[in-house]
């Protein structure tokens, strides 16, 4: 059935128009979605989403033309499935909304091409169905996203508990050993106790930094970089001893100052240094230092781990870890990146294949007088 040249539609004809042009409408909608979205929508997504909505729209129009009511609930429920699928494919809420908007624009655009004018009441039904579909899809999308955030939070807590248990275990074994009187507090067991109390402190500082970042509680102030690096170096030297590696701090000019949250900056640097000490090869050196440009301060941690197994960017995602080791890297780097960003900076990773890697915290230099 063709509508070309027929002018104003009678009631119910929009439904017939959609039925007649179903494939054309879907093809155009797919084309629009494919051109606009990144990541590009897949055929499966469109099979489960847009065609369902289009068929629902036809049903809504049929009921409206028969003086029945539009089944809002049914449209919303089906749209929920679409929302889940879109979330799993990594699309944003805006993209979900646009998917439906595209479909409606294709319908109205095609009707104009065919010189048809959609009657007011049918246009209203079209809009109502669009609203229902968007509400259903966005609600489902938000539900999925909230669940993912909760799961991520649970995993973060689990990882933290695991890391703290490991360190606490060493502390408790040291204390038990000292209490038995077989070893002295000033011997190697005492040193292990010291080192692990520092590790515990680093973990707690890192977690507090994470909480403060999430809560937006940064306290920005002018921080001399040398002070923070020297604080970090105290713990790093102790850890280096036990791992059979070396740690070297290159002195930093006392005039080098950044605008930062001191605790968060210290936690971020300490985390990078702990990672470097963990992965650098035996008998190699981890370097910590800072250089400047007229407007930037570059704090660098260099290790000799032999190079990265994966792309440097992948390391900044939560829970991604080198060599399958979960003790302290996966979450730390992602928090570190977040911390640096909160201070208008950037965390960069440079891979030196076969040699090692360099982590750089790039922060704006504070040039105002103190």
């Amino acid at each position: 059935m063709s509508f070309v040249g027929r002018g104003l539609w009678s009631r119910g004809m929009l439904r017939e128009f959609i039925a007649t042009n179903r494939e054309e409408i879907l093809a155009r909608a797919r084309s629009r979605v494919a051109k606009r979205n990144a990541p590009v929508a897949t055929a499966v997504e469109l099979t489960q989403g847009l065609p369902v909505f289009l068929d629902q729209l036809r049903e809504a129009l049929r009921r409206a033309s028969a003086h029945d009511v539009v089944d809002h609930e049914e449209i919303q429920l089906s749209a929920s499935q679409h929302g889940y699928d879109l979330f799993k494919k990594g699309l944003t809420v805006a993209q979900v909304v646009h998917d439906y908007g595209d479909l409606c624009q294709v319908i109205t655009g095609l009707s104009q091409e065919q010189r048809r004018q959609i009657p007011g009441d049918e246009f209203q039904t079209l809009n109502l169905s669009l609203d229902d579909a968007i509400a259903g899809a966005v609600t489902a999308y938000a539900h999925q996203r909230d669940n993912a955030l909760v799961n991520q939070g649970t995993e973060r807590l689990g990882t933290l508990a695991h890391e703290m248990r490991n360190v606490l275990n060493t502390v408790m074994l040291s204390v038990a050993s000292i209490k038995k009187g077989t070893v002295g507090l000033n011997g190697s067991t005492g040193t292990i106790l010291d080192r692990n109390l520092i590790r515990l402190q680093t973990l707690i500082d890192r977690s507090l930094a994470d909480v403060r970042l999430d809560a937006g509680m940064q306290n920005l102030e002018r921080v001399p970089v040398w002070e923070v690096l020297e604080d970090v170096a105290i713990g790093a030297s102790l850890v280096a001893q036990t791992r059979g590696v070396h740690f070297m701090l290159t002195p930093v000019d006392h005039t080098v100052i950044v605008e930062a949250d001191r605790q968060i900056l210290a936690a971020a640097i300490a985390n990078l240094v702990q990672n470097a000490l963990k992965f650098t090869r035996k008998d190699t050196t981890v370097h910590l230092g800072a250089s400047t440009t007229p407007s930037r301060v570059l704090i660098e941690v260099e290790d000799q781990c032999g190079g990265l197994p994966d792309s440097p960017e992948s390391l900044l995602r939560p829970f991604v870890q080198k060599s399958g080791d979960r003790t302290g890297l996966g979450l730390g780097l992602s928090i570190c990146s977040k911390a640096v960003k909160s201070m208008a900076g950037e965390l960069r990773i440079r891979d030196l294949p076969g040699k090692g890697c360099i982590f750089t915290i790039d922060l704006p230099r504070s040039l105002l007088p103190g």
């Binding site: 689990g158 508990a161 695991h162 890391e163 703290m164 248990r165 490991n166 360190v167 606490l168 275990n169 060493t170 408790m172 074994l173 040291s174 038990a176 050993s177 038995k180 077989t182 070893v183 190697s188 067991t189 292990i192 080192r195 692990n196 036990t242 791992r243 059979g244 992965f279 080198k322 060599s323 399958g324 080791d325 979960r326 003790t327």
Partner: protein, 130 residues
């Protein structure tokens, strides 16, 4: 007294476990990841028990356990005692096929560790054909 192979990626933990084992007369071999553990087994002498961490770089504890069984066909039946801070340790132990596990960071860990180790050593079945 027994030979115990300790495999843990944390050098402090290795040192403290070794000290604990030696304090009750056991002999100790050590490794800081699963690959080092397997190399130690290949070199011999075979241990009477492996004290094994779960999450380690290079090769994890459960993967080392799997390769141990694969390589000797399970004939040696060396008991594996998993020690880790993981909250799902019992499930990991189940998947690894060992009834012996102990969570790190719990009260009286040293005493508990020696108890579980003793149980593992006593319950160790004789190697096949022995």
């Amino acid at each position: 007294m027994a030979n115990v192979l300790i495999v843990d990626d944390d050098p402090d933990t290795v040192e403290l476990y070794a000290e604990l084992m030696e304090s009750v007369g056991h002999r100790v071999q050590t490794g800081t990841n699963g690959e080092e553990g397997l190399r130690s087994l290949a070199r011999g002498p075979l241990p009477d028990c492996v004290l094994l961490d779960v999450d380690m770089p290079v090769l994890s504890g459960p993967e080392m356990a799997r390769r141990m069984r694969e390589q000797d066909g399970g004939e040696e039946r060396i008991p594996i005692l998993l020690v880790s801070g993981r909250s799902d340790l019992s499930e990991v132990a189940g998947r690894t096929g060992t009834p012996y596990f102990l969570t790190k960071g719990t009260a009286d860990h040293a005493e508990a560790l020696l108890e579980v180790l003793q149980r593992a050593l006593c319950e160790r079945r004789a190697p096949a054909g022995a």
